[in-house]
Structures are given as C-alpha cells and as structure tokens.
C-alpha cells in the first residue's frame, strides 16, 4: 500500500509539469495581450508597448517558460498582471471561497441523493421512483446557469427569501454571529443551485448501482436467512453499491475545487471559477497557469483518494 501511494504521488510531478507546458503554450498562443481589452483608450500604442515590455511580453515563448519555471520551482508563482499582487495570495483568497461553496453543496447533495437513490431503488416502479427519475432527468438536462437564473427569479426576486448575489450584505456592518448568519444566507442560493445538479447525477448513480446489487445472490441469501430488510439494504447492499458512487463523488470533488465557473459567475461568488474566467479574459498569464496547476493537482489527488477509499469499502481490493 505504501509503495503504491508513493508511486502515485510521484506521478503527480511529471503530470503537473506537462500541464504547465500545455497551458503555458495555449494561453500564450491565444491572440491578444494583457492590455488589449480593459485599457483606457487614452493611452498611446507607445505607452502600451512600454507596459508590455515591463512584464516581459516580448520574450520568446521558451525563454518565458524557463523564466517562469525557474521561479515556480522555488515556490514563486509570480505576480498577477491584473491585480499587481503575488499570484499565490490571489489564488488562496479565491480558493477559500470555492472550498466553502463546493463542499457545502457536495455534502448537501450526498446527504440527499444517496438516501433518495436507495429508496427509489428499493421501491422501483412506484410513484416515488418515477418522481425521482423525472427530477433527476431534469436536473441533468437543465444547464446550471439557467437553473440559477430560475432560482434567482423565484426565490430571490419574487419571494425575497435570499439575496441575489455576493457573499455578504455589503455596508451592513454586521459582526460576529450575525455576520456568519448573513454569510450563510448568501451561501444558500448558490449551494442549492450547485447541489441540485449534483444531486440529480448522484441519485441516478446510486439508484442504478443499488438496483444491480439488490439482484445479487448474496442479498437473496441474506433475506433468506431472515435478516431484517433494513439491515439487508443498508448494511449488505448499500456498502457494495457505494463503490461506483464513491468514484463519482471523488471525481466531482476534484472538479468542484477548480471552481464552478457558471455558478460562481451568476452569483458573483469570488471563487476559483470566476478567477480563471477573468484571468483568461485579461490574459493574466501567471494566474491562468497557476490555476491550471492547482486544478490538475486536486483532480489527481481526488482520484488517488477514490482509489484508496475502494480498499476500505471493498476488502477484496488490495494495492500491492
């Protein structure tokens, strides 16, 4: 197991290296420059050239990459061109917000989706099952930005239950517990949007995986020896049905950490998704490359965790 872990962790290094080269090349091949979109038209071409020179824009690509890599290896991810601030502090600031949003949404969706999926599988072809199936179909098919807009329209605008966007009531001067409540209040709508979509997926996975397991011989055996139905379902069946579900959850953690771009944009949630989107628009090369690395890192780690969890859930799986 330990050997396996070490090998998996070591593999991360060359992968990140590859990711950095590809992203670095792609973002620099994209037309435009950091001062092509949001700059005031009063500045002359000469002035712009000076700005670009100052950030090393005219260096050949390989030179730029080597310069960047040299610093990155020493832990210096560079300066954001837009924010004029170390890239690391920009990323940390946004990452925090993404973690809160994503983990809450994930927790909520797992808590709801797994039980509902199980119930819907055990009561196959009942009204409950049909309703769940229809809802999860809708959840999978509706694009999240549209769902988000609908939620805003009904829950915020018409009913006035939640604020429309942002992370806090700005200018309220709340402190302490009220500040926290206010934050939770703002968090709810984006969490609901994100969780609904995730739930739809998870429910379907749980349901089909559960259905498959219930058909197995050992479940019939368990029932035949007179175990209570609850024990059969939640102890014998669920544990086995969870293996594919865990994979899905872990992979989605990886993706969630890279920020839900659309959700964050609609709700003006300052997370990784917003950051990446803005940075690409602004051609903020150092930030884009670093974000890509962070995302790649988390996706790899999430996969690794999924593999480890297998071993716990299913004792037959062993890593030698």
């Amino acid at each position: 197991m330990r050997k396996y872990l070490i090998r998996r962790i070591l593999i991360i290094i060359p992968v990140l290296f590859g990711v950095s080269i590809v992203i670095f090349a792609l973002i620099h091949l994209a037309p435009g420059d950091p001062y092509s979109s949001m700059i005031d038209p009063n500045f002359t071409a000469e002035d712009r050239r000076n700005l670009l020179e100052a950030i090393g824009y005219y260096d050949p690509l390989p030179v730029k990459y080597v310069k960047w890599l040299g610093r990155a290896i020493q832990g210096d991810l560079g300066y954001s061109i837009t924010y004029k601030e170390p890239v690391l502090s920009v990323i940390l600031r946004n990452f925090k917000n993404t973690v809160v949003l994503s983990l809450t949404a994930l927790a909520l969706s797992v808590l709801m989706a797994v039980p509902i999926g199980v119930i819907s599988a055990t009561r196959k072809n009942t009204i409950f099952d049909y309703v769940v199936t229809v809802f999860s179909f809708i959840g999978i098919s509706v694009p999240i930005f549209f769902l988000a807009m609908l939620l805003i329209k009904f829950l915020s605008f018409d009913l006035g239950l939640f604020p429309i966007s942002g992370m806090q009531t700005i200018g309220s001067g709340y402190s302490g517990f009220m500040k926290f409540l206010d934050f939770v209040h703002h968090l709810m709508l984006p969490v609901i949007a994100l969780a609904l979509v995730q739930m739809a997926q998870l429910m379907r996975y749980t349901r089909s995986s559960m259905l498959e397991v219930i058909m197995q011989d050992y479940i019939r055996t368990a029932r035949a020896k007179g175990l209570k139905e609850r024990l059969v379902i939640y102890k014998h069946a669920l544990r086995n049905a969870l293996i594919p579900v865990v994979t899905v959850i872990c992979i989605s953690i990886g993706y969630l950490m890279s920020g839900a771009v659309l959700t964050e944009t609609v709700f003006v949630w300052p997370g990784m998704g917003t950051l990446v989107y803005q940075s690409i628009l602004n051609r903020d090369y150092p930030v884009v490359v670093s974000c890509a690395l962070v995302m790649a890192f988390f996706i790899l780690i999430a996969n690794l965790i999924a593999d480890i969890l297998y071993a716990f859930i299913d004792p037959r799986i062993k890593y030698e």
Binding site: L51, K84, P115, K153, F157, L161, H185, V268, P270
Partner: protein, 544 residues
C-alpha cells in the same frame, strides 16, 4: 429522515426570514460589472474599472461643470500666457488630504512630473511630452523638470515647448493629484509592488476609500474635512454585480445604481416603472465603418459616399439602439460644441448610392443585381469584433444593405485584439470599429497625417492612413490657439470637411447610461462621459 427534513426546512426558513435589511440608510451602492483590480494609483492605473476609484478618491485641478465646460476644482484660478506656452494654476486654501496633511503646489508638481521619472513604468509617460525640458528629465540628465515651477505654496506654473492648445485639459483634467509625502518614500519603479499602499489610496476627494475586497466590493466613507463641504451620505460602495441580475438587484434595493451600457426600450420602461432615473451622458465618440484607404477602390470619395447612402444608419439607431443614440455624420456628436451645422446627412437611398457608384465608374447590372468594377463582380470581406451586440447586428444589416446594391459581403467575426492588430496593419477591406475622441475637440490622433506610420508599424494612431492637407492645416492651426471661439470655428470646419470626405463612414453616436434610484437627490451629471459620474458627490442625499 423526516426529522432531518423538518430540521432543515425550519433552519432554512429561520435564516431566510431573519429579515436582513436589503439596503441600510445613507449608504449608496453602485453595481459594477467587473471588479476593480486594486491598482489605485493615478499614475499607474490602466484598467477602466480602476478609474472608478482613482477618479473619485483623487481630484484634478479642474473639472467639467454642468455645461460641459471646465470649472475650478482644486485650483480656484487658472490662466495661460498669450502665446499659450505658460500655464498657471492657483490652488484653493485649506484643502486637506484624507490623512490630514494640507495639499500644496509641491504635490501637484510631484503628481505631474511623476510620469517622467526615468524608472517610471506606467502608461502615462506621453502625457507630459509637451512640457519644456521633458526629454532631459526622462533621460535622467536633469534632476528637475525645467518646465514645472512652484511659485509659492499654492501656485504652480507649467511651461511648454510650443503653444499647447490642450494645456488646460491635459494638466487640469488628466492628472489626479496624489500626496508627495506618501509616495516619495517608495521608489517610482517599484510603486506597483507596494500593493498595500496602492490599495489604501489617500486623496482629497469627498469620500475616502476605507475597504477594498477584490472581486467583491470597494467601500468609500465620508471625509468630513472635504474642502467643498462635508458629504451628506455616510458611505458609497462599489459592488461587483452580475450583468444579468443587476436589474433585479436594482429593483430589490440591493444596489442603487448601475452603468447598464445600452438600454433597450422595454428595460427603460421597467426602470421608470420602478422609480429609477435614467441619465444618458453624451459620449464624445462614434461607431463607424472603415474602408481600407490604401486600396484603390476606396480612394475615390464618391465610392465612400455611395456606401454611406447604401447603409441604413437610421435603422440602426431606431431599431438596434431603440432611440438611445443618434446617426453620426462626422466625429462630433450634436451635444458637443464643435458639432457643425449644415452637414450632408447621406440619407438611406439605394438610388442615390447606385448613382454615385456609377459616376465613380462602377457598373451595376440590375438584372442580376451584381455590381462590377473593372469587369469583375465586387466582393469584400467585412471584419468586426465580438462582444458589442449592436455592432454584431450592424454587420448583418450592412451585409444586406450592400447586397441590395449588388455588392457581396463576406462577414468575418473576430476577437477584438486580433482584429485591431490586423486593421492597424491595413490588412482588411472593410471593418466596423468604434472610436473615442479627446474631450477638447482635437482630432489629430486619428486624422493628422504626421501620425501615419508605415504598414507593419502599429504605433501610428492614424491607422486608417487618411491624408488631407486641408485637414492637417486646420488641425495645426487648432494646435496653436487657446482661443475657444477660434477653435470652435476651426473644428467645425474640420467636421464639415470630414463629413464631405468621409474618410470613414460614420454610423452612430451613443450615450453612456447611468440608471439610479429616484430616491437619490442633489445629483448633477455634467455631459462628459466617464469624467462626470461623481460630480459633487458631497451634495448627494437620500430623500425619504
């Protein structure tokens, strides 16, 4: 399971029912669609959204008044020598920076010469090129910039090499004054790395910036020692807002103002129904179609006039802008003082267009609806950029309009930066572009032949490569005078000439819109886009 659901829904209701105040009193919230980036230093800011901060926290010597003309701001008096080379500004007494330090002429000198320091790395170096002795100063040969003198603690004198007709605008409007005692401690070349200092700007404005949270908001708090009187509002906050939900937030009172860009008629009705004020601020700018003047067919002005007749420009204003704008016939909008009378309006007329094409030697085959030039059917490519909805619609409309006179147009939509680079290289046939003008009426940047650079050098600002000795002469004359009446006559003449010549085909002028709550009173918005949004913000208040 049921218990869990119950608990969840109870807490859900509790939190949502707590009744958080949607808008607390005396705080004015402005929704912006992009977060300011945190470069709040007047000499270094380049991002358009950072100007929402620098133009508020810092002030200029002069400002635009309600009539669009310059009026006193930090300077109470200003004058120029007869030959227009010596500019004198006298500061008001008793102006204080937000940290309590009094403002002096030394701060003004520093704020202007700052962009000429040899290690300055920002984008404003060219702003002081007219000042005497600037070359030596920039090269580091002299310690002082010869052309700027502090006469006493309130008086500053700036001397230029030649008559400088833009002097008042340049020195009075383009330089926000920042405190010398704070910034002289930081090396000029390293100012951008002084992130903390940059994000706590100290200026002289009616509100001081007290908090900046990237990607969320910027808070300004009242500055009671403001020279024009203490503000009535407690706070003004810029809130990052999603364009798609901004309207809903406005109606719900989460924010009090937005800059919506163009407004559709249905939106305008909605705004009004909710008690909002829509203020259209004229923009000294225009959208146009540029035809490549380095290519032979377009060098004949009759061809350009024919195209102008062929395009349904009025349709653009009526249908795409829904009336929020006007058809353009020259660079100056009708709200600007240099706008001339008696221009040719090039009304939408297929017959007129065909007639002009014919006199220019193009042959139209009415049966096939094909235009021929030198025996070949005419076909051009039209380049335009993504992002501006109206422009995208224009492209399609114009394609149809030109097809009506037998010209086939291939549309090519591109990313703005890429298109701009190609167009500057004269690598295009027809393109749709927008252009802003200087607020002082000078058009040299775009029409003066000295600013044409050879193809391949993209630094020439006259990239349409238009050359007309008469226009050059008039621009020159405009350079040499500070007499406002004389300049008006000159610039009107240029306007008329350009209207006749059509170096580009002018399409429309459009206003910048501000939508804000009708509860805000005491606000005046001078008719100069971008510079006038915080005019006398100390007088703003909420009516109950």
């Amino acid at each position: 399971m049921k218990k869990k659901l119950m608990l969840f829904s109870i807490s859900f209701l509790l939190i949502s029912g707590l009744g958080f105040a949607a808008g607390s009193k005396n705080v004015y919230r402005i929704g912006v669609f992009h977060s300011p980036t945190g470069v709040f230093h007047p000499a270094y800011a380049t991002h358009s959204y950072d100007f929402y901060i620098t133009r508020f926290v810092f002030e200029t010597l002069l400002r635009y008044g309600p009539d669009g003309k310059l009026e006193p701001n930090l300077a109470k008096e200003w004058s120029a020598s007869k030959d227009g080379t010596v500019f004198t500004f006298v500061l008001r007494d008793g102006i204080k920076f937000h940290d309590g330090t009094p403002l002096t002429a030394e701060d003004v000198k520093y704020s202007i010469e700052y962009v000429g320091f040899p290690d300055y790395k920002g984008a404003r170096a060219s702003f002081i090129n007219a000042i005497k002795g600037v070359k030596e100063f920039k090269a580091g040969k002299t310690k002082d910039l010869k052309g700027i003198k502090v006469l006493d603690k309130n008086t500053i004198q700036i001397t230029t090499e030649k008559t400088y007709s833009s002097g008042f605008l340049r020195f009075g409007i383009n330089f926000e004054i920042f405190p010398k005692h704070i910034w002289e401690k930081v090396e000029v070349g390293k100012a951008q790395e002084a992130t903390d200092l940059m994000r706590q700007p100290i200026g002289t404005g009616p509100f001081k910036m007290t908090e900046y949270v990237p990607d969320q908001y910027v808070t300004f708090t009242r500055f009671d020692d403001y020279w024009e009187g203490a503000p009535k509002l407690d706070k003004i906050i810029l809130v990052k807002t999603n364009r798609d939900t901004a309207q809903a937030q406005l109606f719900r009172g989460e924010i009090d103002q937005i800059y919506p860009g163009s407004i559709r008629k249905t939106d305008a009705d909605q705004f009004k129904a909710h008690g909002m004020v829509i203020s259209g601020v004229p923009r000294n700018a225009y959208q146009y179609m540029t035809v490549n003047l380095t290519k032979k067919p377009f060098q004949d002005k009759r061809v350009r006039q024919a195209i102008a007749h062929a395009l349904n420009r009025k349709g653009v204003v009526d249908n795409f802008l829904e009336g929020h704008g006007e058809v353009s016939h020259n660079p100056y909008p009708s709200t600007f003082w240099a706008h001339p009378e008696g221009m040719n309006e090039y009304k939408y007329s297929r017959d007129k267009a065909l007639e002009l094409f014919k006199t220019a030697g193009w042959n139209y085959d009415a049966g096939k609806n094909v235009m021929y030039l030198d025996g070949k059917p005419v076909r051009f490519q039209l380049k335009y950029s993504k992002g501006n909805v109206v422009r995208e619609k224009c492209a399609v409309l114009f394609q149809q309009n030109l097809k009506d006179v037998g010209i086939k147009i291939d549309l090519k939509i591109m990313e703005f930066g890429v298109m701009y680079d190609e167009v500057k290289k004269s690598d295009y046939e027809i393109a749709l572009v927008g252009q802003g003008s200087e607020n002082d009426g000078d058009l040299s940047k775009f029409y003066y032949s000295d600013f044409i650079k050879p193809i391949g050098d993209n630094s020439g600002s006259n990239w349409i490569r238009y050359k007309n000795p008469e226009v050059d002469r008039l621009i020159d004359e405009g350079f040499r005078t500070l007499d406002q009446d004389k300049r008006q006559t000159l610039y009107r003449k240029i306007g008329l000439l350009l209207n006749e010549e059509l170096p580009v085909i002018y399409i429309y002028h459009w206003p910048d819109n501000i939508v804000f709550t009708g509860k805000l009173k005491g606000r005046t918005i001078p008719p100069v886009a971008a510079y006038s949004y915080y005019y006398k913000a100390n007088k703003w208040y909420f009516a109950d």
